[in-house]
């Protein structure tokens, strides 16, 4: 099979997962701001840590939202898919209560926890814009 064919298969085969080649932007391109992450932290402390643990490191009943386990699940997945997953299913006892901007703030906080550097523009709330950014747990190669 040709290389192009393989890449095509990769894209077709995975819902929302993107191969590195097709997406120039990742979370490492300074996609959120420090202020946004702070807002997200306040929201997470109020609405997420009771289950996901301090620093969202995971509890007995809910998985971590940072760290290698999280990374291995979400590697290469589009932020639009991750945001939708949060917005439509979390907090698990009150799903559907987070607005899109709030979801983006929490996501920004999650990125900051993973020591992904902030930039000057906020993470957008809009699904189309989030679909341009892939989750990567490591910085791009020089």
């Amino acid at each position: 099979m040709s290389r192009a064919g393989l890449a095509c298969l990769v894209v077709a085969g995975c819902v929302g997962a993107a191969s590195a080649q097709t997406l120039p932007r990742s979370v490492w391109n300074g996609v959120y701001t420090v202020d946004q992450a702070k807002k997200g932290e306040a929201l997470a402390v109020a609405q997420c840590v009771s289950c996901h643990g301090d620093g969202l490191r995971g509890g007995e009943a809910a998985p971590p939202l940072t760290g290698d386990l999280f990374n291995s699940t979400w590697e290469g997945v589009l932020l639009s898919d991750l945001a939708d997953r949060i917005r439509t299913t979390m907090p698990i006892d009150r799903p559907g209560t987070l607005s899109r901007p709030q979801t983006a703030d929490v996501l920004a906080y999650m990125l900051s926890l993973s020591k992904i550097p902030a930039g000057t523009l906020s993470l957008p709330a809009d699904a189309g814009a989030l679909a341009q950014i892939a989750y990567r747990s490591y910085p791009p190669q020089p």
Binding site: G13, C14, K38, E41, C51, G59, E60, T89, D93
Partner: protein
């Protein structure tokens, strides 16, 4: 059914008695007749009440496993108000019908076991009570009961109500509780709020004869809001009427035995939790149910509950009919590591140096299988009290000794040394050493520290606070007495900070100290402090610990040996494609998760815990089969999402089925049924 059951048990007792006096051949005979899932069905959560997760079926074998095809799928999205992404169910199969919990409200479905077609569905909308439940979602399973005439399905809702359904129709049974429902928040020897009372259960009930036994689960206890949280007592109920038969106080009350293990008697009265959230096992011949108990309130700080604190982290053998305690064995004294006993003890009739022992093998988060005589609670091999480090946290008094298992060897890495840290390249090792310098390292049972930004930030703990083993437990091949268990090798950074009193009335709660020099967070956090948080224990996004990250082990529990251990789970993409590992060949690392294993006559079967880009380029996970004697992989099948519920198997119309609960990431919960193509089944 009950009658035949009793007769069956009596025969078993006679055989067992003969065996004690007779030879090993007789032992083998005994073995082939009792354990495992009988009649090609799967009637209880653990395959049988001994929790062996073993089936004598043999049609699917090493030569044909990779030919398995999807027979049917059942998506659970529409069973609740929204899709679920963590389907943990192990269904039951009785008489051609598959029963499972599913959906975010924990509905019950009956499916045609051959096609997946829905026969009936039952769901209870508990409103606020369901929303406030500490253990949400579809749970791990349900129980089946029959007296040969009536058939019932019994399960516990997220809001802690026990419901008995007519297995034929899915309708609540009128004579059970009130219209089929028993409110488990009542009649529990304590007052609790019917809506917000913090109690539930996601394990499956167990039933022996006419007695159904129910445990309790709470919220995770790293930052408990109240020291006097609700208690997790265990109760027996009449499966015909729902009437409470007995209650066992997992924290002794004044005047009850065990209270002397609490330095301050009022602390016992005040403490809550100590539930049995794990699966229980039953020996019907001995008439005993085995309760794996968790900690009293406060997972990592014991300053409010000084003393060994029975029955925290103990196995208790209780009479099924009366709830009276026969024996107990405490695995961890005054626990401060969240070593809740997480899974069903596995009952096995073992032969040690020619002597037959009715044993119980308890996998644990801390990486040991504790093997005890299940009639007496006495260890089969010595379990030694050894000195462990004292705690430096104000108000805490760690136990000076802890029980150390001498046999079989641990199935997980225990404790953390520099040698355990990532060493793919010298640069990564150097970074890991630098990071580790900010933490306290030590052997198993090194206590958590009060966190300091300048160090130690935390104790590095392995196995992690979630194990080791966890709720999925293990499996046992009763023909060889090999016990199989999946385990994670993962580091927790465990530390305490003083509580500010807002989120918890404990003196200390889990957390790490912030950087005092950094500006505070926009809003002061309610429990933990704001400011710069401690770094994650990762090196360039990679786990701090060396692989394997997860394994399956085989332990010979006749001999007390570790027979084999393999990494389970393909290397994740974030590691395979990591720039720091370019040019290196990384062997299969294993994947962290909660993976239940299934033993059959022919194979050991387990799905993977995480997504990866499979050889065909699809995002998914594999269902794998191993040679039971050697651990060699003998087959694999593609699944679109990881395994999240332990697999089960049954035979229907001449064909063996394998059912796996899968979900995760953006893939919602689904039961997948595999079977061989028609032309591949002729061998059986």
């Amino acid at each position: 059914m009950t009658k035949t059951h009793v007769k069956f048990a009596a025969v078993a007792a006679v055989v067992a008695a003969t065996v004690v006096m007779a030879s090993l051949a007789a032992v083998a005979q005994n073995r082939t007749f009792s354990p495992g899932a009988a009649n090609a069905e799967w009637k209880t959560y653990g395959g049988d009440l001994r929790s062996t997760r073993y089936s004598p079926l043999a049609q699917i074998n090493k030569d044909n496993f990779s030919k398995l095809e999807v027979a049917w799928r059942f998506k659970t999205d529409a069973l609740g108000p929204r899709p679920e992404f963590n389907l943990q169910s192990t269904p039951l199969m009785v008489g051609g019908v598959l029963y499972s919990t599913g959906g975010t409200r924990r509905a019950v479905v009956a499916l045609d076991a051959g096609t997946g077609e829905m026969r009936w569905m039952y769901s209870l909308n508990e409103g606020k009570r369901g929303e406030a439940a500490p253990r949400q979602l579809s749970g791990r399973g349900l129980a089946y009961w029959s007296d040969g005439r009536q058939e019932r399905i019994v399960y516990v809702t997220p809001g802690y109500q026990m419901i008995a359904l007519d297995a034929k129709t899915g309708r609540p049974v009128p004579g059970f509780g009130r219209n089929g429902i028993v409110d488990l928040k009542l009649n529990n020897d304590q007052e609790m709020d019917p809506v917000t009372g913090e109690i539930g259960l996601h394990a499956a009930p167990v039933i022996s004869g006419d007695v159904v036994i129910i445990g309790a689960a709470h919220l995770p206890g790293s930052i408990p809001s109240r020291r006097d949280n609700d208690n997790g007592y265990v109760r027996g109920f009449d499966v015909r009427t729902g009437k409470r038969l007995w209650i066992f106080h997992t924290i002794p009350r004044p005047g009850e035995p065990g209270i002397e293990t609490w330095e301050v008697e009022s602390a016992a009265e005040q403490s809550g939790n100590a539930g049995v959230w794990a699966q229980m096992s039953i020996d019907e011949e001995l008439g005993l149910v085995y309760l794996p108990v968790e900690l009293p309130t406060g997972d990592y700080y014991g300053g409010h509950r000084l003393g060994d604190g029975l029955y925290g982290e103990s196995i208790i053998a209780v009479e099924i009919k009366t709830g009276k305690k026969r024996w107990h064995y405490q695995l961890v004294h005054h626990g401060i590591w969240d070593s809740d006993i997480p899974c069903a003890p596995i009952l096995a009739d073992i032969v040690v140096d020619g002597r037959m022992i009715k044993a119980l093998a308890q996998p644990s988060k801390q990486g040991w299988v504790y093997v005890l005589d299940r009639a007496t609670g006495v260890p089969v091999w010595p379990i030694e009290e050894r000195a462990v480090e004292a705690s430096t946290v104000p108000g805490e008094k760690a136990s000076p000794t802890q029980p150390f298992v001498t046999k079989p060897p641990a199935f997980a890495k225990q404790g953390v040394t520099i040698d355990d840290l990532i060493d793919f390249t010298p640069a990564l090792r150097a970074e890991a050493v630098k990071l580790a310098a900010r933490y306290k390292l030590g052997p198993l049972y090194t206590p958590p520290v009060a966190s300091k930004w300048e160090g130690p930030l935390a104790t590095l703990m392995m196995p992690s606070t979630t194990g080791g083993a966890n709720w999925q437990g293990g499996a046992l091949d009763p023909e060889t007495n090999y016990l199989y268990v999946y385990s994670s090798n993962q580091i927790s950074d465990l530390a305490l900070i003083e509580s500010d009193g807002k989120r918890s009335d404990m003196r200390y709660v889990r957390g790490t100290a912030p950087n005092p020099a950094a500006p505070p967070a926009a809003l002061p956090a309610a429990g933990a402090a704001g400011g710069e948080a401690a770094p994650p224990v990762l090196v360039q996004g990679l786990p701090l610990v060396k692989p394997p990250y997860a394994t399956i082990s085989a332990l010979d529990i006749d001999k007390g040996d570790l027979v084999w251990q393999v990494a389970h789970g393909e290397t994740p993409d974030n590691i395979r494609n990591h720039p720091a590992l370019k040019g290196l060949t990384i062997p299969r690392t294993g994947r962290i998760g909660r993976i239940g294993v299934l033993a059959t006559k022919t194979l050991l079967i387990a799905g993977e815990a995480g997504f990866f880009t499979t050889p065909s380029g699809q995002r998914g996970a594999m269902l794998r089969a191993y040679d039971k004697a050697t651990g060699q992989e003998v087959g694999e099948v593609y699944m679109p999402a990881p395994q999240t519920g332990s697999p089960m198997t049954y035979m229907l119309n001449g064909r063996q089925y394998l059912i796996v609960s899968i979900s995760g990431g953006t893939y919602s919960g689904e039961l997948v049924a595999f079977r061989l193509p028609q032309d591949a089944t002729t061998t059986n």
